[in-house]
Amino acid sequence: MAPVDDDRNQGSGDLDAFGRKLEEARQRESSGRIWNAPKDGAPKSALGLAFRVSVELVSALAVGVAIGLGLDYMLGTKPWLLVAFIVLGFAAGVLNVYRMAAGYGYAVGYRKNEAPQSAPKEGEDRGG
């Protein structure tokens, strides 16, 4: 879309008509996007969902185990911090999954990730 601006100075008669048609097309596009990309990128298939849940669970658990082992090694409290951080890691994993399942999409955080719809329209021409 952006390169249109560069050619505006070629100035011929039917350019105006083209401009009007382009504007109409843009209106149509913004009402129902050409790219119907899901906003949160959440997988639609059951397998994709299952895979995501397991990755979220296991990755948080892995971080917990890593922190536990590291702290144990540094402080010399052999198994105890590992035990504590396995529990915390599992809790973090469940939290990740909960956020995912509660409809946050891929967002991580507390409030629902309201997509900034208020973004001005000219954002489309960035960098053109």
């Binding site: 050619d7 990309a37 948080a60 971080v63 891929y106 967002a107 991580v108 997509a115 960098g127």
Partner: protein, 244 residues
């Protein structure tokens, strides 16, 4: 190239030009070859596509513009206007992962996105970069990220470690998702292709049908995982810029 009969032989790293700097192994491998190829392909695609920017775009220009608009819209939806200055980075990530995945779909080629070392390096870079952006933008207020609003202060010793672990698990889940999808898909293709030969003419057509279907699915996954990697980066960036 792929003489090995193991379905995992396709993921082997082969050193082409050994380069050793001190204790570091910086050899140019088959993985590096495909990264260079990917960068060249993306550059050629965009440069040739936009060679003469016509008012009515031709085929190549349309494709180049579509990829641009796709990411621009994605960023507008997920990050908003503040994310504009990071567009080049996000666009680069998307094109690099996407074209890398697609190069991997060519028989006898190498899929560098199927290596955790590659995806984790990218994820770690994104994670550190996004965290630095958040700290630069919000200074100490960034720490409020780890304390949910409206939680009694008594719960803090329990919740803050959980939140920190949850935050630290981001680069892992980001990189594992891409790597595991590519690894699993390509292994599955090889395994079923192996069945075609071993079952012969009698029953070999069954896995053949499967492999054809799987190849189509793999192309979808190549796009989808590049998209997921990009959208996750956008969402992390959004978190860093707006801080819940």
């Amino acid at each position: 190239m792929a003489e090995g009969h193991s379905p995992l032989a396709q993921f082997e790293i082969k050193t082409l030009v050994p380069i050793h700097v001190g204790d570091l192994n910086l050899s140019f491998t088959n993985s590096s070859v495909f990264m260079v190829l990917t960068v060249l392909t993306v550059s050629a695609f965009l440069l040739i596509g936009m060679r003469r920017h016509a008012l009515v775009p031709g085929r190549w220009q349309s494709m180049a513009e579509l990829s641009y608009i796709f990411i621009a819209n994605l960023m507008k939806d997920t990050v908003g206007n503040e994310g504009r200055q990071y567009f080049p980075f996000i666009f680069t990530i998307f094109m690099f992962v996407l074209v890398g995945n697609l190069w991997g779909m060519i028989p006898y080629s190498f899929t560098f996105t199927s290596h955790i070392a590659v995806t984790f390096a990218m994820a770690l870079f994104i994670f550190i970069g996004v965290t630095l952006i958040a700290i630069a933008k919000h200074k100490l207020h960034f720490l409020s990220f780890f304390m949910p609003p409206g939680v009694p202060i008594v719960m803090a010793p329990l919740l803050v470690p959980i939140e920190i672990i949850s935050y630290l698990s981001r680069p892992i889940s980001l990189s594992v998702r891409l790597f595991a999808n590519m690894l699993a898909g390509h292994t599955l293709l090889k395994v079923f292709a192996g069945f075609i030969i071993s079952l012969g003419v009698a029953a070999g057509w069954l896995p053949l049908v499967f492999v054809v279907a799987l190849t189509g699915l793999e192309f979808v996954i190549a796009f989808l995982q590049a998209f997921v990697f990009t959208i996750l980066t956008c969402l992390y960036l959004n978190d860093a810029l707006h801080l819940h």
